[in-house]
């Protein structure tokens, strides 16, 4: 008995100073040992780091039940609660982490331009340096597949859709008129400088239901965050002069930009095809204020105003109409304010409002002495909520309202108002977007959007579903979405009967493969248009319809050649529509079968110069020749243009930008206009549609007067 107690006595003493050993190995699911894993007891600093064989060893004073944790970046934490004595020779397997749903980027039908280390994302400098762009966002986007070259117009025509079917958003808020108003057959440009933005998420179809009222695609652009450096710069070119800068004070910054463009001087050296009485001029000013509020709040307010004017002598020789001095004056005002924040429980909140006002005055619009006025206004209000729940579900939901007013007025040569049409339309919408992770590498989206329009007192429901398989660098997606858009202002303002919302159902199958710094994307799509506005017996009805299907291929490579990046886009599109004044279903006049674009960017480092080259080819534009039977029965010659630009980084503060479009000087023809009635021999006279000038040469000097960064030409 005594012996027994003595044994217990010494055993107890031994326990006072003994430690328990914990050791084992840690491997991944493939059986490979993991080095550097943090293995420790919960609530203590006792632990060890695994070595190159995945082995670990440490001692602890703890007794009884303990929780062992193994954690390593990129892997799910391993936990085991047992008696400390059972942690000898333990075998741990770590499972790879689920990627956060916020970080999954599904690339189907979308191109993101912004800051990222992957290939398909360019930055604003890339936009400027794309050979054919001349610093215009919309022109740079036309180097992507799915875009249609409509050279005389310059706007975005996406996958067999009209320009009005693509809508532009800045920081989530709608921009009613994102294009400048050039004269006819002069390419329109974006109102906004690419340097305003940190990212562009261009969607070619099947877009998320946060957006609506766009039958084809959306172009959401994000402005930069609060600037941290004060800067000031000026720029000059033969057709413009501008200045701008940013003043930053801690968590706030205010930026401003002023630009004046006048083609008078340039036209005197390089005259174009048109006859100008007063050259095109535009004065524009922008202001943006940004403030960080608290830990995660961001408030931004942007406002821009521009005033455009020109007088062009137009003589309609086809119809033998007298000459008139077509006089355009446009005032465009836009203001956009947004507030976004993140709550402690992880809800992302957003509130935004935007107001657009455009006033167009056309003097001598159709005949000398008349006046056509147009007034557009839109107030857009939007609020949304986003949250990720674990790595398996993400919700994005919100409500928005569009309050629109449109008015036009036509005053004839005797000062009598012959036409005064207006239409007010409010659209109220709510959307719910659900993103799921079904299993490893498989994601799905099920979304819905409800819209109510006060124009026709109708509800419209848009569903969207997608399934995506992502395996490392490979993605495969199937997307279905149905989208609605109210017919154009001029139609609904004048029409006797109320029209339905036009609709387009998108079916998309896309794949994307990133291999060794090269990217290949292939997409097939089918769009089914219904309820298009169709002129029947001098009244518009909603009986029009159409379809558009095609294939888009995109290849980007910045590895094969040193200091050289190139992208190649190929689009095939087959469109047919019965809409507007078409008597039969035909190929729409803006759509061509084939569009291809090859873009090369090369850095000539010894002279610090970037060379951008674009080679664009598009098959001939369809047109209607009334001298032949049928409708849209002919095809013009194909389009071809080789464009180049050179950006010279002359010094840290001076950049010289030069560009020449259509270097080879090809006379591109975008179709033909015909006289309204045949001549004495019964034939309709024709004249080709070309652009104002075949070649456009531009040179611009950008000077940084004050800047802490080098080669920073942006005012924002």
């Amino acid at each position: 008995m005594n012996k027994f107690f003595i044994i217990i006595f010494f055993f107890t003493l031994a326990n006072l100073h003994s430690q328990n050993s914990i050791y084992g190995e840690v491997k991944d699911t493939k059986g490979m040992p993991l080095e550097g894993v943090n293995i420790y007891l919960n609530g203590t600093v006792e632990g060890s780091t695994s070595n190159s064989d995945g082995m670990f060893f440490f001692k602890t004073n703890k007794i009884g039940n303990v929780t062992l944790i193994a954690s390593f970046i990129g892997y799910k934490d391993f936990l085991k609660t047992v008696n400390v004595n059972d942690l000898k020779n333990i075998k741990i397997v770590l499972y790879e982490d689920d990627t956060n749903l916020d970080e999954i980027i599904i690339s189907a039908s979308s191109f993101s331009l912004g800051k990222s280390r992957t290939l398909e994302k360019m930055n604003s400098l890339d936009i400027v340096m794309t050979g054919s762009s001349n610093g215009d966002i919309f022109a740079a986007l036309q180097s992507l597949p799915g875009t249609q070259k409509v050279g005389e117009d310059g706007r975005l025509y996406i996958r067999g859709g009209e320009d009005r079917e693509t809508q532009t958003f800045i920081d989530g808020m709608h921009v009613l008129v994102p294009y400048t108003s050039p004269a006819q057959n002069i390419s329109a440009r974006s109102r906004f400088s690419p340097f305003l933005f940190k990212g562009i998420n261009f969607s070619l179809g099947g877009y998320e239901l946060e957006y609506g009222q766009a039958l084809s695609s959306v172009l959401p652009m994000e402005t930069k965050d609060v600037s941290s450096g004060t800067k000031l710069g000026v720029n000059f070119s033969p057709l413009s002069i501008g200045a701008g800068g940013t003043y930053s004070f801690g968590k706030e910054s205010i930026s401003a930009n002023l630009d004046y463009t006048n083609l008078g001087f340039y036209n005197s050296i390089f005259p174009d095809r048109f006859d100008w009485k007063k050259d095109y001029s535009k004065l524009s000013g922008e202001l943006q204020y940004k403030k960080e509020i608290g830990k995660s709040g961001l408030f931004k307010i942007y406002t821009g105003y521009d005033k455009t004017g020109f007088v062009q002598n137009i003589s309609d020789e086809l119809n033998n109409l007298p000459e008139r001095s077509f006089d355009l004056k446009q005032n465009n005002y836009y203001i956009n304010s947004t507030y976004s924040t993140k709550t402690k429980s992880g809800f992302n909140l957003f509130f935004g409002s935007a107001f657009s006002q455009v006033k167009n005055d056309y003097k001598n619009a159709t005949i000398q002495g008349d006046l056509y006025e147009e007034d557009l206004q839109e107030l857009h209000l939007k609020s949304k909520l986003k949250k990720s729940f674990s790595s398996k579900y993400k919700i994005n939901t919100g409500v928005e309202a569009y309050l629109k007013k449109y008015e036009n007025r036509y005053t004839d040569t005797s000062n009598i108002i012959r036409q005064n049409q207006n239409v007010d339309q409010n659209i109220y919408a709510a959307f719910l977007d659900n993103q799921f992770k079904l299993t490893k590498g498989v994601y799905a989206n099920a979304s819905g959007r409800v819209e109510y329009s006060t124009y026709n007192d109708e509800f419209a429901f848009s569903p969207r579903a997608s399934i995506n398989y992502i395996n490392g660098d490979f993605q495969l997606s199937g997307v279905f979405g149905k989208y609605y858009q109210t017919p154009g202002n001029i139609i609904i303002a004048s029409n006797q009967i109320k029209l339905k919302q036009e609709s387009a159902s998108h079916y998309i199958l896309g794949s994307s493969y990133n291999f060794n710094n090269r990217l290949l994307r292939l997409e097939l799509y089918y769009k089914n248009y219904k309820n298009l506005s169709l002129l029947e017996n001098d009244i518009y009805t909603s009986n029009g319809f159409g379809k558009s299907n095609g294939l888009d291929i995109y290849f980007a490579d910045d590895k094969t050649f040193k200091k050289l990046e190139y992208t190649f886009s190929f689009s095939y599109n087959d469109s047919k529509r019965l809409y507007k004044d078409y008597p039969v279903k035909s190929t729409p006049l803006f759509s061509t079968d084939i569009n291809t674009s090859l873009n090369v960017k090369y850095l000539i480092s010894p002279i610090k110069t970037y060379l951008g080259i674009s080679n664009t080819y598009a098959s001939g534009r369809p047109y209607n020749n009334p001298n032949e039977s049928g409708f849209v029965n002919s095809k013009a010659k194909s389009f071809h243009s080789l464009d180049m630009n050179l950006t010279f980084l002359l010094s840290k503060k001076i950049i010289l930008y030069t560009s020449l479009t259509n270097v080879l000087g090809r006379e591109n023809i975008f179709g033909y206009n015909y006289s309204d009635s045949p001549n004495s021999s019964g034939a309709y006279k024709s004249s080709p549609i070309n652009v104002s000038r075949d070649r456009f040469f531009f040179v611009g000097l950008f000077i940084s007067l004050k800047n802490n960064a080098a080669y920073d030409v942006s005012s924002f």
Binding site: M1, N2, F5, I8, F9, T12, L13, N15, L16, G36, N38, Y40, N42, G43, T44, V45, E46, G47, S48, T49, N51, N61, K62, I63, I69, S71, I73, G74, K115, R117, N123, L125, S227, S228, G229, S248, F249, G250, K251, K295, S296, D558, L649, S651, K652, N708, A709, A710, Y711, D712
Partner: protein, 234 residues
């Protein structure tokens, strides 16, 4: 019962009681030993680990101590300094790592920690912003050709914000000066007052009084290295 038997019984019982008592004392003292550990403050444990990091003889030692910092963070989730030093270490290790995958995973971890540091309360914002700038600098170091153009403005922006919030913080001033000097190799620039600037920063470093031993006070090593490279050669 005889007295002897009684004495034996009592002795037997006493020994039993004594043994049992001792057993309990032993158990409780083991417990109190662990209790004693948690009485050691966060600052003390952090200070010990930082000393170990500064004296580490190998990269392996650095990784071990980085893990220790992470364990400390798990015990004290409201503290920011342990996360701060893990991030700083990750950034430095990424620039020295040879393996691309290792670089990438270190930078990813730094990015995650930075995101959570930005949300924490009671941090020194100027130091977090400096760390942010340093992170972008490490991204550029990962692939200078491609990332230089993308991130150079972020590096400068983050340091400038840090300076705007606290002009007396020597670290963002130092890092910005060093970065500008490195950039001047590509964009050209005026380096004539670099050494005077470095001396000024040295003064600032020496005169700065961090709140306590574990608050960020690094910079002298980097400054000396830069002085040796650029100023002693002149």
């Amino acid at each position: 019962m005889s007295v002897l038997k009684l004495k034996t019984n009592i002795m037997r019982n006493s020994i039993t009681i004594l043994t049992i008592a001792l057993f309990f004392v032993a158990c409780s003292s083991s417990k109190s030993q662990t209790a004693k550990e948690t009485n050691v403050t966060f600052e003390d444990q952090l200070s010990k680990t930082l000393t170990a990091i500064n004296g580490a003889k190998s990269v392996k030692g650095l990784f071990e101590n980085s893990n220790k910092l992470k364990r400390l963070s798990a015990i004290y989730p409201n503290e920011w300094l342990s996360d701060y030093y893990v991030t700083l270490l990750d950034i430095k290790l990424s620039m020295g790592a040879k393996d691309e995958k290792k670089k990438e995973s270190l930078l990813n971890e730094a990015k995650e920690f930075l995101a959570s540091l930005k949300e924490k309360e009671n941090t020194i914002e100027s130091e977090i912003l400096t760390l942010n700038g340093y992170y972008y600098y490490a991204l550029i170091a990962q692939n200078p050709q491609k990332n230089g153009q993308l991130y150079y403005k972020d590096v400068i922006g983050a340091y400038q914000k840090a300076i705007a919030i606290d002009k007396t913080n020597p670290r963002p001033v130092l890092m910005l000066t060093i970065f500008k000097k490195k950039m001047s190799k590509f964009v050209g620039g005026d380096l004539s007052n670099l050494c005077t600037k470095l001396s000024q920063i040295e003064q600032l470093l020496e005169s700065s009084k961090p709140k306590n031993e574990v608050y960020p006070k690094w910079g002298i090593k980097e400054l000396k290295k830069e002085q040796q490279e650029s100023c002693n050669k002149l």
